[in-house]
Structures are given as C-alpha cells and as structure tokens.
Symmetry: D2
Subunit: 375 residues, 4 copies
C-alpha cells in the first residue's frame, strides 16, 4: 500500500490571532485575549506524532502547490476570492466571512496551499502514483460555501479538489464522506444539484452551522437524493457511528459505485473535543477508515483521499489522526493510544435506541441513490 | 445579599507540569509535552473576569488560610497526608495518588490553602458574616477519598470544610450538591454512612471515576439513603439538568431540611468542556444557582457556600463561573455571555426521553430521605 | 511608611496580538506568529509575586480611574486621541503610531485606565494619603510623544500625571527620573522647554528610539539645562548605574529641589532582558530606589511615585519589581532573589573606565540646574 | 555546494518542564511555574523557517541516528551515562547534573539522537557525501563535561562526534570553534591535553560557567596552546566579533591546518538574547560563517560541520540560524532579516577600544599553535 502525505510547516503559520476561542478579545465584553480554537497546535502535533512515531517512513510525501485562481473559482465566486485577497493585503489581515474566521497578512497564500495540497494529493491518487493519501492542511475547508468562507474555513479545499480532478482527469463519479462533527455544508453546497457527486455528512445534530445538515436536505434537481445527512444526537459514541457506517455510509457508496472516494476528515467527533459532544476514540476512527478503504476497494480501485478538517483538542487529535493514517498505510503494528481507555471508558458510548431511531430515518433514503450510467 | 469570595493568586501556581492533558510526556509513547488539562487558566481567567466585569466590587473578600493537619485528618488518613508531604518535599514534586494528579515542590502548602480557603468561607457563611459565598480554589477536591487523592484532587476541600464547621460550629445537617460533571466520589466517601450529611452528585454517567456514581450507590448503614447519584447520559443539556433540579435535587434538600447547603461547583458539564460531553451554558448554571439559593433560603437561612472543582475550557468556564457568582450576589444586570448563542445552540439540549427515564429511576429514592430529629 | 499600589487585572487584557516580538506575523517575510515582546506576562507575574510573597499586605491599594480627554490632552494632541479612538473602535483594533504598538478593540479604555491609574497614585502621594507608591499599569507610556504613540506606548502616562497634579494640586517643581533602558523620549518631549520639570533619563546608548537620548539633548528655551540624558554603553552593570546615581542623578535632584519625584520604572536594564544589553539585578534596583527615596526625603517630603514602563523577561522582571516595591514600603526582610547569583555573576558588571568616561561628560551639565524661585 | 541538514521533530519533545527560566517553580521561593529558557521554540521555529523560506529545498537531509554507549563513552564516564539512564527511567525524569538541566521520562533517547545526529552529519561531511552541514539538534552539548552534564546540556554532542570520526575515519586534526555566547567548557575539557584538536571558544566574559573561559586557560601537557579562549566584554557587537575572527580565529585555524572544522553554533550572542549581553545580528553570523567556510576551504577541503547549541530568543534565533545555513549552502539571494535594523541599530556595536584590548591579550597566544606533523 502506498499512502501519500501532504504537510507543510506553513500550515501552522495560518494566523487566527488572539481570539478567545471564537470571538475577538474585547475587555468591554469580558473577553480576555487567548488563542482561537482553530490554532496550529492540533495539526502541528499530529504531524510531529506522524514523524516521531516513525509512521512518516511508511508514507510517500506529496508536495503541496498553490491552487490557482482558476481552480478556486471552480467552486467559489469572484467576489469571495476578491474578499480574501483584500483581507490578505490588509496590514491587520482579514476574515473569511463570518467574523469567526480570521487570517493574517498574506493569509490567502496559505489558503491556496491548503486547497492546492488537497488537489495535489487527489491528483496523485487518481493517477495511481499513490494508492490513497492524507492531506494534513490548514485552514480547513468544508464549511466554505461558494459565496463566502465561514466556520474557520477559507476555501472549500476538498470540493475544489474534486472539481479539479474531474476537469483535469475526467473523474466522473465521486463520493465524499464528511465525518467532521459539524455539517459539511460547504461541500454539500458545491454539489447540491449534481448526481455524479454523492455527499454524505455524518455529524452531530445542529452544532454548526446551527440550522443545516438535517435529514431533509437531500439535494436538488438532478442531484436530488445525492446529498445525505446523518445528524446524530449529542453524546453518540462508536456505537452510533459504526452503525451509521454499516447501515448508511457503506451501503450508500455501494449503490453509488464511485470512481473516487474523498473524505473530509475532521476529528472533532472525538470524546475530548471542546466544540462538540460526541464520543469517538482513535479505534473508532481506525475502524471507519478500514470500512471506507474496503468499500473504496470494491468500487473505486481503492482510490481514497482524505483532507484534514476540524478537531480542537491538541492532546487527542494527534492520536486519532495517527490511527487514520496508519489504517490508510496498512500499518499492522499501530502505536497504542494511551488515552483510549480514559476517553473511551465513558458510559453509554455503545449504540443507543435514540441513535438507532435517527438511522432508521436515513436508511430509506438510500433507495434514491443510483450508480449512474453504470446501472 | 452579602457574598463572600475566596481567591489567592497562588492557586494559579499549583504546578501540574508538562503533562499532555493527562499523562506525563514521553516520546516513546508518542506523548508530546504540553500542559495538563488541570492548569491555571480556567481559574485565573474566571478570577480576572470577576474583576474586569466589576463584579468584584459587589463581593466581600474572604481571606483563605492554610488548613491544619488536624482539619485535613478530619477526612484523610495519616498515610495520605504523609504521602503529599513527601511529594511536596521532593525536588521534582509528587502526585496526589493516581499518576494523573501531579504537583510541584511545596505543593502541599497550596493544597492546604485550597482546603483552608473553603473552610474559611464556610465558617463565615455559618457565622453569618456573609450570606453565601464562592471559594475559587485550586487544586480541586471532590475526587479525593480518605486514603488518597485522585482525578487532579489533593485534599477533599469541601468535605473537610463540612466536617470542620460541624466540629467548630456544631452545624448538624449539611446537604452537599456536586454538579461537577464527574462523580463526586470523594465527598460521597467521606459521608457514606452519615445520615446527617446528604450528598447529591449529578454527573455524566461513568466518566470519572469510570465505575462509580451509579444510581445504586445510596449510602450505607445509618447513612443509607443519604447518598444520591444522578448519572445523566452523555449529551444532556439544560433540559435534563433542570429537570433533575426540579424532580430530584430540590425535593431531596426539601425533605432533608439542612442547616447548610454546600456545592461542589465544577464547570465541566458546560457545552464546550473537553473532558465530558454535556451541554450546559452559563444560563443553566445561573438558573441552578437560583434554585439552590431558593431551597437554601427555605431551610438553611440561605446559608450556601460553593467550592470550585473542575472545568477545563479556559474560554468558557469564566462565563459560567461568573453567572454563578452573579446569581449568588443577586446581581440584577448580569454581563451578557457572548458564547451562549453558539454553545447553547446545539440540537437536542432540551429534555430527552432517555434522560427522563434516568430521572424516573432516581425519584423514588427520595422517599428514604428524612429530616432527622426535626421530623 | 505607607506605600500605594495600583493594579487592575484588565491591564493584562491589553491585546498586543500575535506579533512575533515586534512585527506582525507574515509568512511571506518569514515571520511566524508568536507573541509580542510587550505582552501581559511580565506585569501579571510581577503582580502575582507581590501577592504570593505577602508584600501586598504591606501596601495600600489605590484604585485606578480612567483618564479623561481633558487630562490626556494636557500632553497629547487632539489628533492623537482621535487616532487611538478610531483604532479602538475598529473590529481589528489599531496601533498607537509606529506599527509596532498594536492594541485591540476597546483598547483606548485600558489606555485611559493606565494613565488614570498613574494620576490617581500621584494625587494620593501629593495629598499625603500615602507616602509613596507604585503604579503597575499597562500599556506603558514613556515613549509616547504629544503627537503619537510609539515603542509599545499609547499615552504618556507619567507626563500626564505630572501635568494633572500640577494643574489640580498646584505642584510646582517635579523631577522625573526614567530608568527604563530605553530613552524616555516622550516624557522629555512633554517638558522640554519647562524649567520647573527636571527630566533625567538613564538608558543604554541609542537603543530606542534609535537616535535620541544623546548627552547633547538638554532642553530648550527656558527649559535649557532641565533635560538630562545618560546614555550608558551596552554591557553596563550595577557599577555604572550606581555611579550614575551618585554622580549625576542624586546631585541633579539635590540641586533642583523638587516638590515631587516621579520615576518611569522600566525593568529592561536587567541582566536578562531581551531588548537591551545592560546587566542590573534586583539588588541594583533596590539600591537605586533607596537612593531616590533618600533624596526625595530631603527635598520633596518623601513624595515619590513610580509608573511601570518596559521590561520583557517574564521570569526576572517580577523579582526586580518586587525589590523596588519592597524598598518603597520599607520592607526589612525582603524575599531572596534566586536569580541574582546567576544573572549578576557575569564578568565586568562593576564600573568600567568607558562608563566613567560617559559620566564625565554628563557631570558638568549639572551646573545649569537651579532650584527655581527657591534659590 | 551540498549542505547536509539534520533535524527531527523529536528534538522539540525534549521536556525541560515548567521551570521558570532556570529554576524549578516553587511558590515558597516566589518562583511561579513557567517554561525553561531552553525550551523547544527557538529550535522548532528555526526549522520551520528553514522550511517556509524554501531553504530546505537546497539542503540534503541527513538522518540522525542514536549514539551508542560506546560512542558516548568516548567522552563521558560510565557514571554519567548511568545517571542519565536512571533519570530517564524515573517517572518524573531526571537532571543532567546541575539542577538546571531537567529532562523527561525517556529523555536519554533524545539525547542519544542529538549526539548521534551530529555524528551522522560529521561522518557525511568527512566522507564527502555532503560538503558541509548543520545539525539542528536538541538538547545542546557544549557544556557537558566528561563527568556530568550542565548548562542545559546532556551529552557533549560535538566532542563525541569529533572523537567518533577520528576513530571511525581516522580524521587527525580537528579545529572546533565555539561561538555560543557561553564558554564551551565541555568541548574544551574533552580535548584539553590533545594537540591534535584545537578548541577556540569566543564568548562573553564569565557568564556561564561563571568562572571558566579565561584567556589563561590554554590547554595542558601536550595540548598546551591548543585551547584558546576569547572572553569578550559584555556589550560587544559585530565589531568585536569580526575583529576576533580576523585577528584570532581565522589565523589560529590557518596555523593549525585542520582536516576538519567543527562549529558549536549557539545563537545567544545575538542582540536580543535574554541570557547574555552581546549584540550580534544575522548579518554578523552570516559573515562569520563565510569566514569559516573560507578558512575550511583552504585547509580542510571545505569540510565544515556545525552543531546547534544555545540561543534563547524564539523570535530572533530563527533569522540568525537561517543566515548561517544559507551561508553554508551558498544561497545567493538570502531572505531579508526584518529585525536586523532594529536589533543591530544599537549604539556602540562597532569595535570598541576595550574590546581591542582583550584581543591584544589573545593574539600572542597564536604563536604556540603548530600544524602538527605537517609542519
Ligand atoms: Zn468541525
Ligand atoms: Zn470534573
Ligand atoms: Zn524600555
Ligand atoms: Zn549558550
């Protein structure tokens, strides 16, 4: 198994300022300066663990390049690109669109490298230069809609990459799974009317954006049925996630018969994330990766690429991310996760009836998914 | 309303080292040095918000003193005290008992001041020098059992204070509510056979300690029925907590008719805590405080004192803590919590059927609670 | 001895962003995000040491208030005030004037409290409510010239306070000593033509501003002779500083016969500061304080007030600052400085011939100083 | 020009704890927990700048390996190795020997990799696999004497490498230049009686160790004359350093005619270092590197390898280190150093008479240096 790996130290230089978690510091509001939840630590520490654990020796480095205007405009509007450029040119930097997503002077170049890093990886996967791969990029992308960024995301990295390889390599059928704990609204928006791109977002019910990601959002026009949402209740652990994998995600991909499987890989569904309330540990991420590899192997020649999204616990994201990349690389003797017994030891992480009830709502929607011209 | 307030900057100097969240850093295990989850930030930032918001002007400072050996031994064994002293005397410091609870050289003195700070506050409340109060101390205490510390706790601050005022002031009936998201196992252990001390712990089901805090734990011997546990499922928000307050906590105190109400006030049930999966916001903490003030007013002459326990999100604990202290002080124009709309906007934070089911198990246990010789 | 002490936690909330020491982060220039040299740590840690050492119990708290427009305009132009207000109103904050002095939204209010904190202290000293005092404020002030801020300084805190008490209390003759390692150019500028205000800056030769603070700068017009500069060579230790105190500073004040002595108290001449190259330890600061107390006792009834300025080593500033405040308070058993043997152990910190040569240039300038109408 | 480069992310995981700069935190002594001066930031940020600037593409990665017991014992005693092993096996870690040099559990392995990284680089330089090179390792080594570590150093990395290639490759004559601002006492001790190894330490007079590095220390026995010390006065800038290079260091190497030139490359003589008082900027480091390359080219076939030592300003070390590595690699369009105008703008950084006086003492000592059997 050859697994591509994208990282560049400059991803850690994306500057989200002294926001106190979310908001700019302002003593009049009682907000003391601190650091943004979306700071460099989770990503830098994951990369360092990839190196220190020795996993790096089993990966094939893929060099990120900067996405061009043309590539970014495959998803975004000219207005959005211009806004990011303007913020990047300002001496105090700018914001990607919602006031919660700051970036520093020159920030657009890091955003281009994040998007272009994912493109480069997906190109190599499609070209067979590597079997699969992981792009550890920053800023994240899955909340960025065509018209603006939001939720700490500047450009829709993975959606851009999907459109780029469709254009450059003629890839027809693409399945995109988003296991970030927040709704993959940006990715969904980019393909909402497209029956050749199946988007599946598994997330915690209405966390962010606060009002999207409902079961009822299923795509529109020709794309109707090709957007799936699995809004799991708060407090869901491996039980609910693996059931969703078995009952919804794998079967949906199975029906869809993609040429390529992409994953928006956030780690904020882990049991120690501050920005959501789910309960996964590294072993759940490992298992989910293995399931997706299996289904990608059946339909897409194993072509699977992941792009890093959220995840805000600097201590635990590294171990969850390591498990995923180890699984991609087929590592047979993975590093033990010392936090698993603690974080995974909470009560009621097994499948619960109210989680099953949600899945029962989603399962019937699979019927609408076809395999395109292959059928 | 006069509200006492205990804080000393040295609480921020309790040194939990470079543990990566929980475990000592060790590159062989893939654990990069970082900071302990239980570091100074949440507490220091809460204190600074108390000052910067101006609330400090409405509080009465209560000066902490160091708990004596005699006071500590009201709860703990001589062996435990000796172990902490030995660690404190070691040039590299020690650990309170479970390998997850480090402290630095001289650490016992900070532990004495934390316990003694709670004693001083409770004494003033009992003496009527203040109506109620909040002790913002560190290290926390509610996991420390008589034989050893654990869960970041060195001494059982609140249990020691309860026994100290019972001894020095003859306070007979004490109700202790523990809303830290973890089980108040140490406090429970200190009074497990004591029918004059009602302990109520509302927590997330089996987080820490991993196997205690079950509904079945009810006290022993004469104390049978005087320990209550409310192990809410993961993902519970204000709905479940306020229902528990209405259906269990307030009625239990009502039956018990205490002379004094104490609260182990952790903020790790908030919606952004990394170490648990519940969903409270500052308004829920405010409401819970108001309910307890009300019931303390009915039975204990309003005598209510809180001791700070866990809470691991440095951004959000300050706003939750501020709301509680504002409520204690009867502030009528509280500071707006800017995070409330975000953190409290998640789906399914209202009361859910599986949470009601848990409360249905606990409610019948109230029948065993009597009001002692008053009845 | 009664010693006033000004501090407010909000001084630590003055937000200097993620500048890498000096400059805004910008990956295109190779500047990784970090923290500004002028961040909260040195001041917050000094305050915490004042508390933890117990010194706080020997001080009289003086509450800071916000300087009014009228007070600020005693030194600054309307244009400068308007610029700070505009930056303060901007969602990304502003800069005090040179691009190296950022502040956050609402920052002007913290600047007002810093200036007003110094005013409040000086008023109490003049009124005899306290004998002397220390204002631990932030942002600093001594580089701010009438037309703009610079060098991390927003408003000329100490110059404003001097003019304010002259106006409100009729204080006539004021001596201002600036021992910050950088030239007190702002304070000097505020009184350059004023023979009733003697400004003495002892600093390292041409560090900041890069081209001021020369021996030749002596005041203008009626003020000629009433500005003194002592630009010590890099590498000067206690030897050179105490010789300067004996040969220049004390004799100058002696001749001037002030009613009030003010000190711009930066700690960046200490032996571990990153932004200058001098070699003082806490004992040198203690001795300098004692000398100034002595001379203030002879001429100004002991009326001496200090305002905190620079100092950028978070480890060592606290011990230097503590020594100064202990000396003000007449503490007879000061806390031992554990760093003194290390930082003060460097070679050649005694008086060196090339330092004497500089002092020899300055000493003759004392002849021009008169005692005003008293003479 | 081929330039080897050693780095491994685990060097940033060497855990120096929560020491406040130097000493373990202890509230009884007024020492608040903080970070050790010798923490990961200066090195990690230098590495990241090497990547982000693009310089990495012009370097040849050299993989570090762990130094063996046999290699370490070329310099150190069995007792020292056993002490480090014991500390490494302790759950709280250990100290390298002086109480100021902590390391964490498993720390010996990082120490082995640092020493072995330097060995690997020097081997490749000697073998001609690369022309020259830089080993960015941590912990540092130049203070470690045979019997114990000290001054943040565990093993004498560069001395071990010198002895290792002498043994394995038969390298005879080795010149070691140490431009760390502190005395290279450990390196000097390892070769004090060896006429085949010329050690030259240029440092600030008596900083650390407090009493070594005097001009009078010249070697012993057969090695007499082959240790040189240049204890520059505090406050020395590029003027004094470049004069020392011209008048002492280059001529000494010229006389010695080495087969290999090694450099202990600390950056704590820079103008913003907290632990010393010198005034170099990146351009001085660049020039010094060019001079050494020149002299190594004349005598040692250009074989020059550098090992990273001290340097404690996280903002400025990266730019100084970058300049050195750029110079090694013969980069013709180096990155501009934005801090140079500020930090290098201080007065009196040009050669001063009292610095010349020191050099005048050292120059005559060159006469004792011979070129061995080549003469
Ligand atoms: Zn997310
Ligand atoms: Zn807790
Ligand atoms: Zn200064
Ligand atoms: Zn050094």
């Amino acid at each position: 198994m050859t697994t591509g790996y994208v990282y560049n130290e400059v991803f850690g230089w994306h500057d989200t300022g002294t926001n106190a978690g979310l908001f700019p510091a302002d003593h009049r509001l009682g907000i003391q300066p601190f650091q943004h939840f979306e700071n460099a630590e989770t990503k830098r520490r994951l990369h360092e663990l990839v190196v220190v654990s020795g996993l790096i020796d089993q990966l094939t480095p893929v060099r990120p390049r900067k996405a061009t205007d043309e590539e970014i405009l495959l998803v975004h509007t000219e207005e959005h690109l211009a806004r990011i450029q303007a913020g990047s040119d300002h001496p105090k930097g700018g914001d990607s669109g919602d006031g919660l997503s700051p970036f520093g002077p020159g920030g657009i170049e890091i955003g281009r490298l994040a998007a272009g890093g994912v493109i480069a990886l997906v190109e190599q996967v499609v070209d067979g230069a590597v079997d699969n791969g992981y792009a550890l990029v920053r800023p994240p992308g899955h909340h960025a809609v065509p018209e603006h960024g939001m939720g700490f995301c500047m450009f829709a990295n993975l959606a851009i990459a999907a459109k780029a390889v469709r254009r450059s390599r003629g890839v027809e059928r693409i399945a995109i799974v988003d296991w970030d704990v927040h709704h993959g609204n940006g990715t969904q928006a980019a393909f909402y009317d497209d029956p050749d791109t199946l988007t599946i977002s598994i997330h915690q019910d209405r966390v962010f954006p606060p009002d999207t990601g409902l079961v009822e959002e299923r795509g529109t026009g020709a794309g109707e049925g090709y957007a799936l949402n699995i809004p799991l209740p708060p407090g869901t652990g491996h039980g609910g996630y693996l059931a969703a994998m078995d009952r919804v995600i794998a079967p949906a991909i199975d029906r869809f018969q993609p040429d390529l499987v992409l994953v928006a890989s956030g780690f904020d569904a882990n049991a120690a994330d501050p920005l959501a309330r789910q309960g996964l540990t590294s072993s759940a991420y490992r298992t989910m990766t293995e399931r997706l590899l299996e289904v990608a192997g059946q339909h897409a020649g194993g072509r699977l690429a992941m792009s890093h999204e959220g995840g805000y616990n600097p201590v635990y994201v590294p171990f969850c991310g390591l498990a995923v990349i180890e699984a991609l690389a087929g590592v047979t003797e993975p590093l033990a996760d010392p936090y698993e017994p603690i974080f995974g030891g909470m009560g009621q992480l097994e499948l619960q009836p109210h989680q099953t009830a949600l899945l029962d709502q989603v399962v019937p929607l699979l019927d609408a998914i076809g395999s395109g011209t292959r059928a």
